[in-house]
C-alpha cells in the first residue's frame, strides 16, 4: 500500500483516469461503482482531472430512459509530448498528442560529437519549431522523451560510458532540457525506445520481444513481461560485442576480437563491399546495392544474417521470446538478411524455443525510435502516481503553473 499524496491509499484521480481511458467513455455513477468510491469522492477527483485538462465531460442530452449516457472521456488533445531519437549523424523529432497520435515529425542532420550542451540546445530549438507547426504552445508540453545511442541510467537520464558519445558520459540530459521545457524528460537507449515503440504500437499482446537494430552497429532492445528490461547498468541488449564462433581474425573497435558487429554490422559490410570494388560509404549504400540485386552484395548480406542469427539463436534459447523484430538501416535491405537470420536461428535454437517464434521486420522502420520515445514520455505522465502528484500540486498551490509543479521522477 503505497502513499499517493492527499488521496491516501484509496483510488486517486490517476486511477479514475485509467478507468476512463480503459472504458473509452464512462458515467459518474459507473465510475463510483467500479472504483468503490462514493459519489462525492469521485466528483472531487474528476474536478482535479478536469482542471488538469486530462478529461472532458460530454454535454450530450440525457437519454430518455434506461442507463444514463456515458459522459466522461479522456482528453487526448489536452496536451502534447515531445520526442527525439538521437543517432550519431541524424535525429528524428516528433510531437504527439496524449493518445500517441503523431501531430508533426521531422528528420534533421545531427553532429552528436558537438557534445551534449550544443546538441540539446539545437534539438530544443528544433522541437520548439515543430511544436509551433502543430499550433500548440510550450505550455501544452507535458513531457519530453529522448533516445540516445548508448547505455543510459534510466532513473537519472544519464548516459553511461557511451562509446560513440564523447562528452556525454554522465551528462544529466533531463536537467539540460528542463531549461527549455520545464517538464519531466525521460531518457533511454535508442534501441530500447524502438522496442517500446514497436511493442506498444504493433505487438502489445506479446509479453516477450526482442528488437534487433542492424545498422552501423548492432544492438537489441528487450521487452520482458511487457516492459523494457534494462539490466544492472542499463546495458542490457548490448549484443554487438558477443563473440561470433570462428571469427577471431576480426578485430573490433572495442579492442576485442570476433565481436558480432565487427563481423556482421554495417561498417563490416561497407569494408567488404569496397574490397569487392563497390563504392560504398555507409550502410544505406549497402541497402541500395542489395536492392539492385548485385549478387556479391546479396551474398554478403545473407552471410551477415547468418552470423547475426547464430548469436540470436543463443538469445532465443536463453530468453525464449515470442517475437524477434529486425530494424535499423540494414533491415531495409532485401530479404537475404532475414533469410540468413532465420536459417541460423532455426538451425541452432532448440525446437521448443522456436516452435511459435516469429521473426519479422520492424513495422515502424526508422520512426520506431521517435514514436517509442513519445510512448515512454506518455506512459510517465499518465501513470496514476504521477497524475495524483500533479493533482495534489495543483490543489495545494493553484497559482503555480502546472508545467513547473509536475517535475518529479
Amino acid at each position: 500500500v503505497s502513499g499517493n499524496g492527499s488521496f491516501g491509499s484509496r483510488p486517486g484521480p490517476g486511477a479514475l483516469l485509467e478507468l476512463i481511458r480503459a472504458t473509452g467513455a464512462i458515467s459518474r455513477a459507473e465510475l463510483a461503482r467500479r472504483s468503490g468510491l462514493g459519489r462525492a469522492a469521485v466528483s472531487q477527483r474528476l474536478d482535479r482531472l478536469l482542471a488538469q485538462d486530462l478529461i472532458l465531460e460530454t454535454t450530450e442530452l440525457p437519454s430518455t430512459g434506461g442507463r444514463p449516457p456515458a459522459s466522461l472521456v479522456f482528453n487526448a488533445a489536452g496536451g502534447v509530448v515531445l520526442a527525439a531519437d538521437l543517432g550519431a549523424t541524424h535525429a528524428r523529432l516528433a510531437v504527439t498528442d496524449l493518445a500517441g497520435e503523431l501531430l508533426a515529425e521531422v528528420a534533421e542532420d545531427l553532429g552528436i560529437e558537438r557534445g551534449p550542451a550544443a546538441v540539446l540546445d539545437t534539438i530544443a530549438a528544433q522541437l520548439t519549431d515543430l511544436l509551433g507547426q502543430t499550433g500548440r504552445t510550450p505550455a501544452d508540453v507535458r513531457a519530453v522523451g529522448v533516445g540516445v545511442p548508448g547505455p543510459v541510467e534510466f532513473a537519472t537520464g544519464r548516459p553511461v560510458s557511451p562509446p560513440i558519445l564523447p562528452g556525454w558520459d554522465g551528462y544529466r540530459i533531463p536537467d539540460h532540457l528542463y531549461r527549455h521545457f520545464p517538464v519531466p524528460a525521460l531518457v533511454d537507449n535508442d534501441v530500447n525506445i524502438m522496442a517500446v515503440g514497436e511493442h506498444r504500437m504493433n505487438w502489445r499482446d506479446e509479453e516477450d520481444l526482442l528488437l534487433v537494430k542492424v545498422g552501423t552497429g548492432i544492438g537489441c532492445g528487450i521487452v520482458a513481461g511487457g516492459t523494457i528490461y534494462r539490466g544492472a547498468q542499463g546495458a542490457a541488449g548490448d549484443i554487438g560485442h558477443i563473440r561470433v564462433a570462428g571469427r577471431d581474425d576480426v578485430i573490433c573497435e572495442c579492442g576485442n576480437v570476433g565481436c558480432l558487429e565487427a563481423v556482421a554490422g554495417g561498417r563490416a559490410l561497407v569494408r567488404a563491399a569496397r574490397e569487392l570494388g563497390f563504392a560504398a560509404r555507409d550502410s544505406r549504400d549497402i541497402v541500395a546495392l542489395a536492392r539492385a540485386q548485385h549478387v556479391e552484395i546479396t551474398r554478403l548480406v545473407r552471410e551477415s544474417g547468418r552470423v547475426i542469427g547464430d548469436v540470436l539463436s543463443g538469445l532465443v534459447n536463453a530468453f525464449n521470446p515470442q517475437v524477434i523484430l529486425i530494424g535499423g538501416d540494414l533491415a531495409e535491405a532485401d530479404e537475404q538478411l532475414f533469410a540468413g537470420v532465420r536459417e541460423a536461428v532455426y538451425r541452432r535454437a532448440t525446437p521448443l524455443a522456436t516452435r511459435r517464434l516469429r521473426i519479422a521486420r520492424s513495422v515502424l522502420g526508422d520512426r520506431a525510435g521517435a514514436l517509442g520515445a513519445a510512448v515512454m514520455a506518455l506512459e510517465h505522465v499518465l501513470d496514476p502516481d504521477y497524475v495524483d502528484a500533479c493533482c495534489d500540486a495543483e490543489a495545494t498551490s493553484p497559482r503555480r503553473p502546472r508545467s513547473t509543479s509536475a517535475r518529479s521522477r
Copy 2:
C-alpha cells in the same frame, strides 16, 4: 483496479496481511491509518484473517500511556507448505512454515522414468511422512511447490517437451497432487526454483540475477526485475544447447553439434576423465577427483569453466545482471571451475556489463531447489488476491473446509 471479491477495490484482508508482515507488529489504529480504511472495515478484515489462522492478536496488557501497544502479528505457524525438488535420480523434499522456516527435509532416491503417476504418488507418500515428523497434519497444508527437470508451462503446471522426462509431457501435475493434497500446487523448472530460492534467501536486494546449474546438464534460471523470467514456452534459461565457438566436432544428444552441455557438462567431463584412465561414473566422481587435486582433472574442470564463461559472457552482455550464481554438482568442485568462468567472462563481456558483476557460488547448494519450491508456494498463498479469495470463500460458505475452497490459480 482489479476486482477482489466482496472487498471491492478497497484494501482487502490480503493487503492488511501485507502491512502486518511488513511491519512485524502493528496496532489496529495504525492499520486503519495506513490502509485508509475505517476501524469497522479493518476489524471485519482482521476477523477473516484470524479465521484463516494467518494472524495472531497478542494479549499484552496495554502500556501505561503514550502509543497503544502493537498487537497484530503474522502467524507463521498457522500452516505449512510442502516442497519437492525432483531430479532425474534424486528428490529433495521439505516442509516449511508460512515464514519459509524449514521444519523438516529429506533426500530420497527417485526414478523419474517410472512416469508421473507413480512418481507423484511416491512423492506424496514421502511428503505425508515428512509432514508427520513435524507434528502437523494434512489440514495444515496450504500449498505444494514442485520443481521438475525440464521446461514447464507455469500457468497450468504442465511439463513441456521435457527431454529427460518421458511420459511427463503435458501431464497435469497439480491435478494429480490435488488427489493427495487438496490445495494449490505450483510447478516450475528445477533451475527456476533454485534461482527463486537463492534470490529470496540471499540476494533479495539484487533485481537481476542468473543462477547457472552445472551438473550432468547445464541450465540457467533468470531473475529479472526481482521475479522469475520464464519466456514464451517456459523455456527461458535453456542455455545448455547454445553453440560453443570452435567445438562443432562434439555431437550433442539433441542432434546438434557444439552444444554447451555436450562440451562442458558433467557427462562430457566424465567421458573425458575416463579417456584419461580415471574411474568416473557421474559428476560427483568428477568433484571428488577435482578435490583430490588430480591435475589432469582440475585442468578439465578449468577448461569447462572457460567454455561456460564464454557462453555466459554473451548472456552478461545481453542481460546485464548484477550477480551470476553457479550451482549444481560441479559447483562443489574446487575453485578451478569458478576461475575458468571468471577468466572467460571478464575477458569477453563488455567493461560496462562487468563493472559491478559478482560471480559467486550458490549459497544454498543442493537445498536451493526445495527451498525455492517452498518460497514459490508461499508467495502464492500469501498473495493478497489469493488471501482475499480465501477469506471470501470462508465467509460465503463457512462449513466448507478451507483447504478445499482455496484452489484457484
